[in-house]
Each structure stands twice: as structure tokens, then as C-alpha cells.
Assembly symmetry: C2
Homo-oligomer: 436 residues x 2
């Protein structure tokens, strides 16, 4: 998960046992329509839901063991197979009607609904950012569990396991089918490939709503997908001696020109409207100070909530690169032309659903019911993909408190973590409808 | 030594035992004034010189052993001490009147002249390009000796040793003092620091002429010093998340702008006049595609025979860097300003002496006398420094055939290598005057 604000204030208040969580945010929280508050209240009055809430508390030792088992099953980027198999076995055991692993190693577990006319996805991601060979052994310090990936997003996987177990134990039936998913490739260069495959146009599923579980706490609701495009631009020429071969094309000169044109134009178009960003992030190339390089490359990141703005900045990059190529080739005095390769290395769709959409209203009402202040967020999560496809979707946290995501000292503390599981259940039931 | 043309044609002809060497060159060789042809002829008629010529041939086994000993004494950049001590002992043994090692590890060996009113330097460089730990053991294949540094410039060191030995054996007296020098820091980032120290304004020597011995064969005469300036430009900012910290200064954007302004302007001023070159050669910086970098750097090389043109291009770089700094700071939306560090990492003076200058005419006449076609060159050698100071200077080869300079498979073949030693003696005697 890629959050954009550190939940420091929230963490402090949770730690200090205050039951009402307050958090600074960009805009005041929009109102919650009374019908959603009533709807959630009504759900929590059901005896089966009351029993499920208690069950999650009773299951805590087992949920903790699940977290240890899964965290200690490494799941490096693009190498989630081992954890996928483990998670598939665990979710089968937890009571799914059918479980399968798809072509990209997503784990899918179906729990049939009464009518099965609709499908609700509840998903957490299998992958971590940590490479093969990282020590993923859990190191407890007091009640806090330390290990790479423990919070992001292994806790999410165990939370949805607990939801499924609890539903089975108390016999809750939904109207819609529920598809529990462990998704691959959420992080970094994974580029949301698990959810993209799941919802692919040709052969993917078409859920009616999508609940991604990622991050900690019970306040945050990500309903705006921060889209991003990432490129690696590489100019290539023959290379040669800085004096003897002078007059041949210089790839660094071309890259400099491309950066100049791109950043000069991008600065202008990002000064108004929805926040849209660009960054020339990493550059390289060249072998020696006395040699014209044969290669010059840059990695560039651009982000926006607005697909239009994102495409606009993207177009500025394409234009700048071609213009630089032309300029550098036009001043060459000998040798072959420069060539350029523009490779898209990241593509996360952007989009937003309004705070008045039922799924967002319900998620807010659930937080309120659990005495947490709902906080609406923009982030880059698996929900980006369904949101961009027009599917009602949010990403919500899985309870407890966590920190150090993407760092070796990542930690998660089970501070009333059962609230996170109760929250997932309530939102799921509101979206899927209760069968009996 | 940094030559600008591979002597392939020359090598072929030497290998094929042709006694007249022909070589492609940019401009036809200028004429040699008859007085210099006569002067050299007269020198070679002296009985002592005839005896010295034969002595060099007799000394060949010893000269070969010197080459093995010195090549196998490593002399990495900035770490020439061990070889300097060895060479000092050998040149003392060879018959110098006094030998000392200066503050930077240059070896100086004086052979007094009759009047001693003038001083002629005969120099080869001690340093190799090879780092500590390189295997420098000589590997013979047939008559060819393979080892890193064997030709460039260890052969030069042994050639000047042989000249001194021969002069002693046959009792040649010069009018001027002769200073034999093993110089440090000729290669790469050594940046000619040995010869710069030797000829420093404050406390250095003031020779009347300067003969650098570097490279193979008996044809090449470097009389034009290709000057160069080299810079490492580093822009620095705070760095941050590509979305969360957007609006802070981006060092890569600034570098791109600097490259754009520099290369656009430098292209214009290098289209006319003496060949002057520039190259953005190596760039780097940045940690991750989703992070605004805290640093962006480039290494830039510029060269010219003309000090004025070199300074003109240098000034364009300084202006471009400051302009880019200003532009990038002017569009920042938050955070501190960018800073820039411009570090000069190389400074080789440029200059030329005319082909009509006595030292060049004499060097040409010597080649002709030895049945070689003189070839005038522009290169970056130790002669750059005296040339820039107005001291008559050339760099000449030390005989034989070599190849693979700066590569691990460097080689040198003693194909009539004594001709190279005879050549150094003749040019030295012409410059220093024969005492008796």
C-alpha cells in the first residue's frame, strides 16, 4: 500500500487508548447519510453478527498464529508462488466452497451466496517489497511483532481469513457470492498486476463491488486512486572518444534536452487543477569522463488522481523525448543517428468515486459505529484498478497499529485488532446483503 | 600517452620490415630546413655518436631486463613511490651525477654539461593506468612482451636509462646540463601533476627545452598539446517522495537544464575555428523511480588546442550551470533552494609550437635520418605543460612496436627498438649541444 500521509496522530491516539480517533485531513469529512448509519446499526443488531464479533475475539490466538505462519513464508516481488500455495490451503481450511490459484498466482476462494446474482470481492495482497533472502522471521518485542511484511499486507491476509472463519462458525449467509482474494503484484514494479489480471477485460471477473484490505487501523478509507505512469527513457548512439569521435550524437545531450523540454512544459500544466506531479527520479549512463557515452537513460514518474491530467503530462514527456531526439540528430556532424527507446515500466490507473457512493458511505458508517473517525484518503492501492473500471471500490485498513512499511524494521501491534476484522465483516455484509 | 590515431598502418609497415614508414595524416608533412638535416648528419658523423649507436645495440639484453624489472614493479595512479625508488636506484647506477626524488615522487637525475648554462629535460612517465593488485608479470609470447604498462610508458623509462648509460660508456659530453626525469601522474586523473610540479612557477625548474618520451616507433612527434578541462557538476536538493514532496527542487531537472543550455551554446561556438570539443560523458544520481533525487551529477570533458577556445567553452558551461540553478529554483513550490558544486577534476593546458621551431625540425630530421617518415601529431602528453609555458617541447616515441595501451593485454615488441634510443640521443644532443 502506498499511503500519502503518515498516520502519526492516529497512532498516538490509539496507543493512548482514546476511543474517539481524531485526525488532521485536507478537507472536512463529508456527512454520512442517515440511511447508511441505520443500515449498519441494523446489521449489528443481528444475533449472527453479534456472535461473529465475539468469534473474532475468540479467534485471536489463531489469527496471531496465521500472521506468524504467513509472514515467515517469504513472498518477494514476482515470486509469490510459495505463499500463494500456503494461503490457498489456509483459506480452504477456513471454509471456502472452492479455492483456486490463477495463471498469475492470485489465490481465489469463493463463498457462495444465496442468490449469487452479485459478487463482492474482499482482497488483500500476497506480495511484499522484500527481495529473496530477506530474513522474515517474526521478532516479538513485548506485544509488538517485528518482521518485514508483517503489516503490509500479511495482516490483511489474516484479517480476511478470520472474516471467512467467523462467517462459517456462526453460519452467516450472504445474498451475493463473496470472492476472497490473495492478490499478487501490488507493490512497486508489480504494478498492480494481480488485480489487473483479476479484472482483465478478456476473461476476468466482473465484481459488483470491491473491498481491498491494506494498511492498519479502522479509520482510513481510500476512495481515490492515485494513478501513475512510469517510464524508462533510453537514448542510444555509437559512443566513442570524446575528442577523436567528436561530432557523433551524444545520448546525454539528448537526455538533457528531453528533461529540459519536459520539465519546463510540465511545470506549466501542473500549476492549476487537480494535483498532478512529475519527477525525473533516476538517471545514468556513460563509462568514462573521456568517452562520449553509448547510452543515457532516465526513470520518470508522474502521478495524478485525474486520468486526463496524467495523460496530458504523459504526452508532454513523449513530445519532449521526440523533440530532443530530433534536435540532437540535427546537430550531429558525423556518424549514425541517435535512437530512443521509451519503455513504460509502471501504469497504475487513476480515478475516484464520490464520497456519496454507497460503498464509501457504508465504510464511513462502519468506522463511526466502531467509534473511529472515518478518514478519506487518496492513495495508490489495488482499489485503483476497480475504481478506474467504474466498480465501486475502497481500500480499508485491517485494524491494529503498524509502522515501518517497506523497511526491515516493519512492525504491527495487535491493539484491538479485532475491530479491523469486525469492520471488514460489516462492510462486506452491507455490500453483499445478508441472506438470513 | 593519449594518442588520437591508432598507428595501425605504421605498425603494419614496421612488421613487414619496410624501412620507409608511410602514414596517413591530416596535413602534408611540412618541409625540413636543410640546416637541420645537415646538423643531424654532422652529429652522426661524430665517432662518439657512432660508438653510442653500437652501444645501444650491445646493451639490448640489459635494456630488456630493465624493462622486465620496471614493468613488474607496479606503479598505480597516485601510488608511484615504489617504482620511483627503483627507478632512482637504476638511473643512479646508470651514471647520473646526482639523483633525487621530489615532493610528489618525480625522479630527477642530473648529468652535468660542460657549460651548464642551459638545461634540457629528457623525461618518461612512471605511472601506469592500472590499479593496485593488477597482475603486472611479463608474459612473453615469442619475441613480444605482454604486461600492463610494458609499453606505456615503462619502455620510455628504459629507453632514457639506455641513453644515459650509452652516453657514459662512450664519454659524450653535452654543453647543457641534461635532466633525466621519471615523472608521476601523466595518466587520467593524474592530470599531468608530475610535470606540472616540475615546472611550477614557484620553485620549479626552468628548462630550455623538453623532450618527453612516450609511445612507440620513431615517427611520431607531438608538438601540439591538446588541452582539456574536466568537471564534475553536482546539483543537490533535499530529496523526497515523488508525489508527497512534489514542488521541491529536483536536481535532475536542473542538470537537464544545464546540459540543454551548455550543449546548445557549445554546439554553436565549436562550428568554426580550431577543433574544440565537449562531451557530457557520465551522469548519475537518484535512488528509486518514486523518489525525487537528492543529488544529480555529470562529468564533462572539453578539449582544444587553443587555450582561448577551451576557456570559451568552459565559460559556457559555468554560465549554463548557474542559469539552470536559477531556473530550477525559480519554479520550486516548497522547500529549500538547490545548491550546485562545480569541481574541476582535470586541467591539461593546451598550446602548440610551430613545425618550423628548431626542436620540431630536429625531431623530424632525426626520423628522416633513421629512414622513418616524421609524423606530426596533436595529443595530450606531458609536453602539453612546457608547450603551454612557452618552452620548446615535443613528445617522441621510444622505438619498437606496441599496442593495447591501457588494456590488460598491452604489449611491446623489440622490433629494432635501438632506433628509438638512437633517436632520443640525437635529438638530445642537437638540443643540448655537444661538448666535445
Amino acid at each position: 500500500m502506498h499511503r500519502l500521509l503518515a498516520p502519526a496522530a492516529l497512532s498516538f491516539l490509539l496507543l493512548s487508548s482514546t476511543t474517539t480517533f481524531v485526525r488532521a485531513q485536507d478537507a472536512p469529512a463529508p456527512p454520512i447519510d442517515k440511511r447508511y448509519t441505520d443500515e449498519i446499526k441494523k446489521l449489528t443488531d443481528l444475533p449472527a453478527v453479534k456472535k461473529a464479533f465475539q468469534t473474532f475475539i475468540d479467534l485471536e490466538p489463531q489469527t496471531k498464529q496465521d500472521l506468524i505462519t504467513l509472514t515467515e513464508t517469504p513472498s518477494p516481488p514476482f515470486k509469490e508462488q510459495v505463499r500463494a500455495k500456503k494461503f490457498a490451503a489456509m483459506i480452504k481450511e477456513a471454509g471456502a466452497d472452492s479455492v483456486w490459484i490463477d495463471e498469475v498466482n492470485n489465490v481465489l476462494a469463493k463463498r457462495k451466496g444465496r442468490s449469487g446474482k452479485k459478487t463482492v470481492v474482499v482482497e488483500a495482497h500476497l506480495d511484499t517489497v522484500f527481495p529473496e533472502g530477506t530474513d522474515v522471521k517474526i521478532k516479538p518485542k513485548g506485544d509488538t511483532l517485528y518482521a518485514p511484511g508483517v503489516g503490509d499486507d500479511t495482516r490483511g491476509l489474516t484479517a480476511i481469513l478470520a472474516v471467512l472463519k467467523g462467517m462459517g462458525k456462526v453460519g452467516i449467509e450472504t445474498d451475493a457470492d463473496v470472492l476472497f482474494v490473495g492478490a499478487v503484484g501490488e507493490e512497486g514494479l508489480g504494478d498492480l498486476r494481480g488485480v489487473k489480471h483479476l479484472l482483465r477485460k478478456d476473461g476476468g471477473i466482473k465484481p459488483d463491488s470491491y473491498i481491498a484490505v491494506d494498511g492498519d487501523g479502522i479509520s482510513t478509507i481510500t476512495h481515490r486512486g492515485l494513478g501513475s505512469h512510469r517510464y524508462r527513457v533510453t537514448f542510444k548512439g555509437p559512443g566513442g572518444h570524446s575528442y577523436g569521435s567528436f561530432g557523433i550524437v551524444n545520448p546525454h545531450s539528448a537526455l538533457g534536452k528531453a528533461i529540459y523540454h519536459f520539465t519546463t512544459e510540465a511545470d506549466k500544466v501542473t500549476r492549476q487543477g487537480i494535483k498532478t506531479t512529475y519527477s525525473v527520479s533516476v538517471i545514468g549512463g556513460g563509462t568514462s569522463v573521456n568517452a562520449i557515452p553509448y547510452e543515457s537513460w532516465a526513470e520518470i514518474d508522474m502521478r495524478s488522481e485525474s486520468p486526463e491530467k496524467l495523460n496530458q503530462v504523459d504526452q508532454l514527456l513523449q513530445t519532449a523525448v521526440q523533440r530532443a531526439l530530433k534536435e540532437e540528430n540535427s546537430i550531429k556532424r558525423q556518424g549514425p543517428d541517435l535512437t530512443v527507446d521509451v519503455k513504460k515500466i509502471g501504469d497504475r490507473p487513476s480515478g475516484r468515486i464520490e464520497a456519496t457512493t454507497p460503498i464509501v458511505q457504508r465504510a464511513m458508517a462502519v468506522s463511526k459505529f466502531l467509534n473511529a473517525e472515518p478518514h478519506l484518503e487518496v492513495a495508490s492501492t489495488n482499489a485503483n484498478t476497480p475504481i478506474a473500471l467504474g466498480i465501486p471500490a475502497v481500500t480499508i485498513g485491517s485494524g491494529g497499529i503498524g509502522g515501518g512499511e517497506h523497511a526491515l524494521n516493519e512492525w504491527w501491534l495487535n491493539d484491538k485488532g479485532y475491530l479491523g476484522i469486525q469492520r471488514i465483516l460489516l462492510l462486506l455484509l452491507a455490500e453483499a446483503g445478508v441472506g438470513k
